[in-house]
């Protein structure tokens, strides 16, 4: 525990290891292999790596064609261009024929930092989870990314996985009984007053928020939702029943992501207050990654504030 490492670094290492296990695994990138870290695979298996240049739409289509011939393609670019620019190719050439292509969107969220709004993708979960049959993953640390990559390699179908640019603390390697299963959330901390359902780098912040709340006498349960689709409805509904209110936390727009997925699920099957923590309806801006996250309130204190709000809505409705 405690090692700081970006999930993109774990992605590249995982590809290089999986490449030895699966001869049909091929990797494509769009001139960002040094950033997405697919270069680690390119170095190990140059014959199975294809740099498609700055042309994400074509990359998605070429991967689809490779998949029809039994290959296991992984394609990567920044989340903005993977989920955004190539959205319709991912939908029609990969999602609709249910082809076995894994789409990796790196540098997701505000933590891209200095590059600013044009490169800070806050809509990738919304776009990708709207595609029928697409699974959507957002591992919180390098250890979880490695396990997610093992699971994805065994999964036959289209998937989107977000990679982060920023080095983040590894927390999942030291958890008693932690196990990665596609579509299953993980309880990182027990609690009874409020549930914080977090994804990606907000997971570590949610754990810190639970510490803040504990000092105030509030017992917060923390869920790590690495699979945004399919959502672990069993775990979320059980938490809704047991804690009576939920805060969702994601490095994504509050529109269309984990927050809305959880709100939709609970409103149908177990209505409780759901307070969404994320980026409000606005673009990001340039700055050091941590400074940008702070400016948009994506901090432990930001989550704790939403938790207090959720609890007060719950209390007032009694």
């Amino acid at each position: 525990m405690g090692e700081k490492k970006a999930t993109r670094a774990a992605y590249g290492e995982a590809l290089a290891e999986l490449g030895a296990k699966y001869p049909e695994l091929v990797v494509l990138d769009a001139d960002l292999s040094g950033s997405t870290m697919s270069k680690t695979f390119a170095k190990a298996f140059p014959d199975r790596f294809f740099n498609m240049g700055i042309a994400e739409a074509n990359m998605a289509g070429v991967a689809a064609g490779l998949a029809t011939c039994g290959k296991k393609p992984y394609i990567s670019s920044f989340a903005m261009f993977m989920a955004g620019r190539a959205y319709e190719q991912v939908r029609n050439s990969i999602g609709y024929p249910r082809l076995n292509v894994k789409c990796a969107g790196s540098h997701g969220g505000l933590s891209v930092g200095e590059d600013g709004a044009t490169h800070q993708c806050l809509e990738d979960f919304a776009l990708m989870r709207a595609i029928p049959g697409m699974i959507v993953l957002n591992p919180c640390d390098a250890h979880e990314m490695r396990l997610a990559m093992d699971a994805l390699a065994e999964y036959d179908g289209p998937a989107y996985i977000r990679l982060g640019r920023m080095a983040v603390e590894t927390v999942t390697d030291s958890l008693e009984g932690y196990e990665f299963r596609l579509g299953r959330g993980v309880v990182l901390r027990g609690g009874s007053d409020v549930t914080i359902a977090a994804t990606g780098l907000m997971v570590q912040r949610a754990l810190a928020a639970a510490g803040i709340l504990e000092r105030e006498g509030i017992s917060a349960r923390v869920l790590n939702i690495h699979t945004i689709k399919p959502l672990d409805s069993e775990l979320i509904l059980a938490s809704a029943r047991e804690t009576g209110c939920i805060v969702t936390s994601e490095e994504h727009s509050v529109i269309g992501g984990l927050g809305e997925a959880v709100a939709a699920l609970t409103s149908e099957f177990c209505p409780v207050p759901v307070v969404r923590h994320g980026v409000e309806d606005e673009f990001g801006r340039s700055g050091k990654a941590e400074a940008v996250l702070e400016a948009y309130g994506l901090t432990p204190e930001g989550i704790a504030g939403k938790a207090r709000k959720a609890i007060s809505i719950k209390e007032n409705s009694k």
Binding site: A57, N58, G61, V62, A64, G65, K71, P73, N92
Partner: protein, 278 residues
Amino acid sequence: MTNKELALSAARGRRLAMEMVFRASSGHIGGSLSSMDILTELYFEQLRIDPASPRDPGRDRFVMSKGHCTPALYSVLSLRGYFPEKELELFRSIEGHMSGHPDMQHVPGVDMSTGSLGQGLSAAVGMALAARLDRLDYRVYALLGDGEVEEGQIWEAAMSAAKYSLDNLCAIVDVNGLQIDGRTADVMPSEPLDEKFAAFNWHVIMADGHNFDSLRAAFEEARSFRGAPTAILAKTVKGRGVSFMENDPGWHGKAPNAAQYEEAMAELNAAVKRLEVL
């Protein structure tokens, strides 16, 4: 097959396509008629395929990048034996799986789901790369429209095919000069296509898209060309075979009414009859 037999098959295909569009009251007849001879030559003479095993890993691939021309593709697939002609009756119907655009999950013989223009050539590049990786000698063909090439993705795909010297890839452009809103030259001039593909480092062959000798010579040249992908620019007539539909952009995606259907079928039936007695 002899040219006469091919012409007869294409004439039957045109009749089937017209029936499909009329029955469904929707569909794209103009481009289906312009591409029918190209598809007939491909499926009966060029493609190394076996309709009895449509997923054979060693088969040649075909991608209908101009996916709206399913009346032509499905007709030719049924004539070639992939499925009974009767299934064409459910074209565009909720009762069946003969979707408006090619669906590889449900229609036997369809190698790639297409329909959103500009995407098919990329998939064909992926298939050609897979052949290279697996050291298989199958070839990959993709049929594009001359309106479709206005999509930027076509040129992304063209660049990548040349980068990897995919001489097992052959794109055919159905150059009928028309698109939905009018003449391609007016809507968005895509010519000179020969110079464009050549500038993207493709081998370029001009052909008559309604002449089987010309098409065959083009495909044979493409097959023997080494070191680069080939683009066959096949000049065609949109609406070919139905006089009142020829060269009229109005027939891009419109179904005929009953009277128009009778008139069209009379001409198409006469063509079939003429070829049957030859």
